[in-house]
Symmetry: C2
Subunit: 264 residues, 2 copies
């Protein structure tokens, strides 16, 4: 926990918040129980800043959030369209996704996704919100990824995708790669983006997208990208792809800044 996240509803009008759960324990053991100590806080979906320990009442800790930034951090510029992986894999994936930074997560079905995955505990708002907040607290971010669940890829693509992630550049990564077509790397696929562009990464199920699904996504503007010849498990592929997409977007922004600086 690199930042103590508080819900806006927990924040009293005077800027104090009373913690009694694991966060109180964290403040007492990491920041020390003494009044006057300072530490990082963040308001969920709001600004980051620092707070002062006002008092400790037994197990409860009262923080005064007196130095908050004027605005929340920007929403991460990468979205993820993810064919639901096995529940065990998905449970472990929520926190890493929030650590790396993702604006929106569209969980979808696919031909090779088992239907019962959707009924698992891993696909419940209670579980994913807890795990996403853990990831944000690690990464010092406050912006909770927006998660939506889609039981039909066809309906998602036809009815919802433009509304949910219409402005993003669409990249399609198969976990199982064909290898013959020499698709682009993430970096190459992001080279022409603007500095404020968003990217939507589609990651297929174990066993890969079916050809008709690949064609459907291709028709909707997805460009195939490769992670190289190694077949990665969904969770490893997601982490690798998010890291590559963020680096590619940052490199694009750096190049544009450098070009702009040379202009008279």
């Amino acid at each position: 926990m690199n930042v103590v996240l508080v819900d806006p509803a927990e924040l009293a009008p005077d800027g104090t918040v009373t913690l009694t759960d694991a966060r109180a324990e964290h403040v007492r053991t990491v920041l020390g129980a003494t009044a006057g100590a300072r530490g990082r806080v963040g308001v969920i979906d709001g600004p980051l800043g620092t707070a002062c320990v006002e008092r400790v009442d037994g197990r409860a800790v009262v923080l005064r959030c007196d130095e908050l930034a004027p605005a929340p951090p920007p929403r991460p510029r990468v979205d993820l369209l993810l064919a639901v992986p096995r529940p065990k894999v998905l449970k472990r994936l929520w926190a890493p996704l929030a650590q790396l930074g993702v604006g929106r997560i569209l969980l979808t079905s696919a031909a090779r996704v088992e239907k019962y995955y959707f009924d698992s505990h891993a696909v419940t708002p209670e579980l994913w919100r807890t795990r996403l907040l853990e990831g944000l607290a690690q990464a010092r971010d406050t912006r909770v990824p927006i998660v939506t669940v889609h039981r039909s890829l066809e309906r998602l693509v036809a009815n919802d995708l433009d509304r949910l992630s219409g402005d993003a550049h669409r990249l399609l990564a198969d976990v199982e790669l064909a290898g013959t077509e020499r698709p682009l790397t993430v970096r190459d696929a992001c080279r022409e983006l603007r500095t404020d562009s968003r990217v939507l990464l589609a990651v297929g199920p174990e066993g890969g997208w079916r050809d008709d699904e690949r064609a459907l996504l291709g028709e909707r503007g997805f460009t195939a990208v490769t992670l190289g010849p190694r077949a990665l498990r969904t969770d490893v592929a997601c982490i690798a792809l998010l890291a590559l997409a963020h680096e590619a977007l940052e490199a694009t922004a750096a190049t544009r800044r450098a070009v702009a600086a040379t202009k008279p």
Copy 2:
């Protein structure tokens, strides 16, 4: 399991191997139990290829490895110097490391590594070999990363590092980043490498390297690289860094090939 890995000692002189464990189960359920079916095999630290199901005797499956490549796949060009993370995190990390491809893993102590981590099951050859083989079978590779354990960072750096990973370009990534010095990205740090260069990534403990450790590694030729402003947990940082290093090496090779192609 995308490839059935067999130990050279299991291979009979006539090229057959008799499987009775989870691999036999995999062959029966995934490839089908019928004689004549073909599937991918790999000899551990040897060549990849395909094999034919010769016969099924109850639970045992006899494969004939009759189409193997003339040489093993190349050893991955990225090595990892890793301050031992919590046992729970390390246990989960072995397979992803092998999936992404790593030539050598140097596990080291550091000021912020708890000493008892070295006594955990996660730091035993039995556990890491099993998990690394799982990762290789997923990624269709045969080259088992070479793991060494070093209980002193000072001695590792002074006595062993040049011998174990002397030819690699050395990059230092803190999980907790200072943020003030604007270190290079992995891609930038790899821009000047040769096409056959190796990279050694040093990943610090939770809480980061101490300043004296950072200085020590700096003296031994490590260049600081950044993953951006987000503080990642060790496992997520390792996966992200390996993906970035492999992409950077591949991009360097592609650039050199393109330059070479323009020369008369």
